[in-house]
Symmetry: C2
Subunit: 195 residues, 2 copies
C-alpha cells in the first residue's frame, strides 16, 4: 500500500466526503473511496459494515459540523431578547439549508436521501436541534419574556411547525417568491403563542 499513515475513521470520512462531493452520492462506490485512500476494499469494510453505514456516518458528521455546531453558538448566547435570539436561530438554520442545497449540492442530496433511510440518525440530529431551541425558550420563560410552560414540548413544536422551511423534502419550494412571507406568517403565530 502506498499510503503509510494509519487509517483512522476520521481519515476515511474525510476521503469519503471528498469522493462523494466529486462523483455524487449515487455514483460513488466503496471502491472509489478505497482507491482514493489507496487501500483495499476490505480495509474499508473493517471500519464500516456497508456502503449505507459509511454514507450515514458521513452525513451525521456533516450535519454536526455544518448545522448543529454553528447553531450552538446562537443558542448559547445569554443576553438580549429571547425572541430575537429564537428568530435568529431559525433563520440561521433555514439559511444554512438553502445555502447547502445550492453550494454543497452533492452533500445535500446525500443528506436528503439519508433523511428517508436513516430514521434514527435523523431523529437524533433533530433532538439535538430541539434541545438548542429549548435552551432559548427556557431563557425567555425565565426572564418573563415568554409565558411559563413546558419548554421541551414548545421547542419541539417550534421545530415541527417550521418543517416546510428546513426539511429537505421542500428544497424546490425554498426559491419560491412567497417563502419568506410564509415564514413570517408562521413565525408571528408561534411568537404570539410563546408571549
Amino acid at each position: 500500500m502506498a499510503n503509510e499513515t494509519p487509517l483512522t475513521k476520521e481519515a476515511i470520512l474525510d476521503a469519503a466526503e471528498q469522493v462523494l462531493r466529486r462523483y455524487g452520492p449515487d455514483k460513488t462506490s466503496v471502491t472509489d473511496i478505497a482507491k482514493f485512500l489507496q487501500v483495499s476494499h476490505g480495509t474499508l469494510y473493517r471500519h464500516f459494515a456497508s456502503k449505507a453505514a459509511l454514507r450515514e456516518t458521513v452525513t451525521e458528521r456533516w450535519l454536526d459540523k455544518c448545522v448543529s455546531e454553528p447553531l450552538e453558538g446562537i443558542a448559547a448566547a445569554t443576553d438580549g431578547s429571547a425572541a430575537v435570539q429564537l428568530r435568529s436561530w431559525l433563520e440561521a438554520l433555514i439559511q444554512k439549508k438553502r445555502l447547502y442545497a445550492l453550494e454543497d449540492a452533492e452533500m445535500f442530496a446525500m443528506y436528503s436521501a439519508v433523511t428517508l433511510e436513516a430514521v434514527d440518525l435523523i431523529a437524533a440530529h433533530i433532538d439535538h436541534l430541539v434541545k438548542q431551541i429549548a435552551v432559548i425558550v427556557e431563557r425567555g420563560m425565565h426572564s418573563g419574556e415568554f409565558k411559563p410552560g413546558e419548554a421541551d414540548a414548545m421547542a419541539r413544536a417550534i421545530f415541527l411547525a417550521t418543517t416546510k422551511f428546513h426539511h429537505p423534502a421542500f428544497v424546490r419550494e425554498w426559491s419560491s417568491k412567497d417563502i419568506d412571507q410564509d415564514f413570517d406568517a408562521v413565525w408571528s403565530l408561534l411568537l404570539a403563542g410563546l408571549q
Copy 2:
C-alpha cells in the same frame, strides 16, 4: 366503436380513475384508459393534451371530492367554539390523508407525484383549504374567542405549521408512535397564538 354514449370529460375522468386504481399511476398508459373506454387513443387526446394533463385533472378532482368538499362541511358550521372547530377541521384533514395513504394507495401515490410536478394545481388546492381555515379563524375573532388579527395570514400560518401532519412527503412518519403527541404540541402552541 362499441361504446355509443357520448364521451364527456367526466366519463374519461371516471374511467381514468378506475384504471389508475387498478394498474397504479406508474403503469397506467393513455392507451389503457382508451381501451377501457373502447375509444381510440386520439379521441382521448382531443380531451387531454398529455398523460400529465390527464393525471393532474384526475388528481384535482380527487382532491376536491375527497379532501376539500368534506372539510367544507366542518368549516361552514357557525355554532360552538371556533377552537374546537379548528381542531376538528385539522384532525379531519390529517385523518383523511392517513386513510387514503392506506386505503386508496394508488390515488395517494399519484397525488404525491402530482404534488411535485403540478405546483400551480397544488397551490390552488392549498388556497382553497386555507380559505376554509380563514372562515373559522374569522368566526373566532368575531366572537372574541381569538385575538383580532389578519385572519388570512393566520390561516395560512396554521396550514403551513401543520405541514408535517398532512403533506404527502411525510406519509412514512404518520405511523410513528410520536405523531399524535407531536401534533398536540404544535396545536397547543398555535392555539396559544390565536387566543
